[in-house]
Point group: C2
Chain length 236, copies 2
């Protein structure tokens, strides 16, 4: 991994009982310290203006001014001039489709590889992994491809949830779905429980927040990681 | 809807505590009465031989001999000669991709429009709706399109589940997902709870099994249907 890359990838935009990104406030403050402006990408939700307002109020409180990309006439220029970037949660298919339609995936990738700090929550996480094939979202629209930026060389499953042995609901457990993913794909998958995040700086992956993570590697037993530990991939 | 079309669309392949299609046995028996052979399409699961064995044992018990399409050298011929067709559950993306790769979607559509009885459970349901945009499955592989046969002019969401007000899990409820679907699409969606099925004959849609269904129409309040009632669409 390029050592300039700075990522903060948060499993969920809203934690139970909390407001917009409230559970990750201290981490976000530290991650963006010294930065006074942020480019927000609201395309995972339909009402972009409302989403912008919510995000603006949050970042204003941290002393960071926010501009939403949907208000720019030239989105490519907005990306190239951004001092930091945040892509919020919502529907991953809708989000990726819009990034393809605007033709800004490569611009985002260049910015991130140059060291512009990138934050993503939920759907926003999938944009920096190789593909969006480990999303939990419903395929309500059709992006031209499920390939994403591939800044990371592994997949993430946000909102990872352990099987409930008492459940009578008969769809596949998350673990079963990731097993099915590995029947047809090779990338390792980091299952990030709600309340958890990973911060990636200097090529190191640090797990933060609550509830930990579980790493799924094809043909191996899943491996559990606790909050505040470093994750070394591939698992040995 | 073409009045020759005969469909039996079952929300789940396995019901809680039951075996393969055991919850729908009487309905399947009645739907396929007078038919002695069935073409099985196992592509939603990776292990096709194992899936074939499970399905064969089930249908043998009903006096119906089963041939699985993956054993045929010419799948198009298998479809054109089928007396009845069943597509089983699993991962919908994998299933649709395989039907595109084999180029048999049009053949299946012709057969069904000519009156060959079609059964689909879970993933198999999505094949006869306009698209697979209302699946619950993980996008583990990438079909060339999410468009399906469009025998029906509405969508179905199998394994429909009502929101649990006590849940602390922060992903979108199913109802919220279908609301997001309607932000970008117009087709009505029939949310078929587990244990439920619809049988469509003579252009009539009869809801069977347990737990009923909920119909979601863009810009309207959802409407509840009880088992054994007829569903008239669009909802007035």
């Amino acid at each position: 991994m390029n050592s300039k890359v700075k990522l903060l990838l948060i499993s969920n935009t809203y934690a139970y009982g909390g407001g917009f990104l409230s559970h990750a406030k201290d981490e976000i403050k530290s991650f963006l310290s010294g930065i006074d402006s942020l480019l927000f990408i609201p395309y995972a939700l339909k009402d972009r203006d409302e989403y912008e307002d919510i995000a603006r109020a949050y970042f204003k409180n941290l002393g960071i001014s926010l501009n939403s990309i949907h208000k720019f006439e030239y989105p490519k220029k907005a990306v190239s001039e951004a001092k930091s970037i945040y892509i919020g949660g919502g529907n991953t298919f809708r989000l990726l489709k819009e990034l393809y339609d605007l033709d800004i995936l490569d611009d985002l990738k260049s910015a991130i590889l140059k060291g512009v700090p990138y934050m993503g929550s939920s759907a926003g996480i999938h944009m920096v992994t190789p593909t969006m094939r480990t999303t939990n979202d419903m395929s309500i629209v059709e992006p031209p491809s499920l390939d994403a930026m591939g800044i990371l060389n592994f997949q993430i499953n946000p909102h990872f949830i352990d099987a409930d042995p008492k459940s009578k609901y008969m769809v596949e457990t998350r673990e079963k779905r990731l097993e099915q993913y590995h029947e047809d794909n090779d990338y390792l998958v980091l299952g990030l429980r709600e309340g958890a995040w990973v911060r990636i700086e200097n090529s190191k992956i640090k797990l933060g927040g609550k509830h930990g993570a579980k790493v799924f590697q094809k043909g191996k037993q899943p491996k559990e990681y606790k909050a505040d530990s470093y994750i070394k991939l591939p698992v040995e």
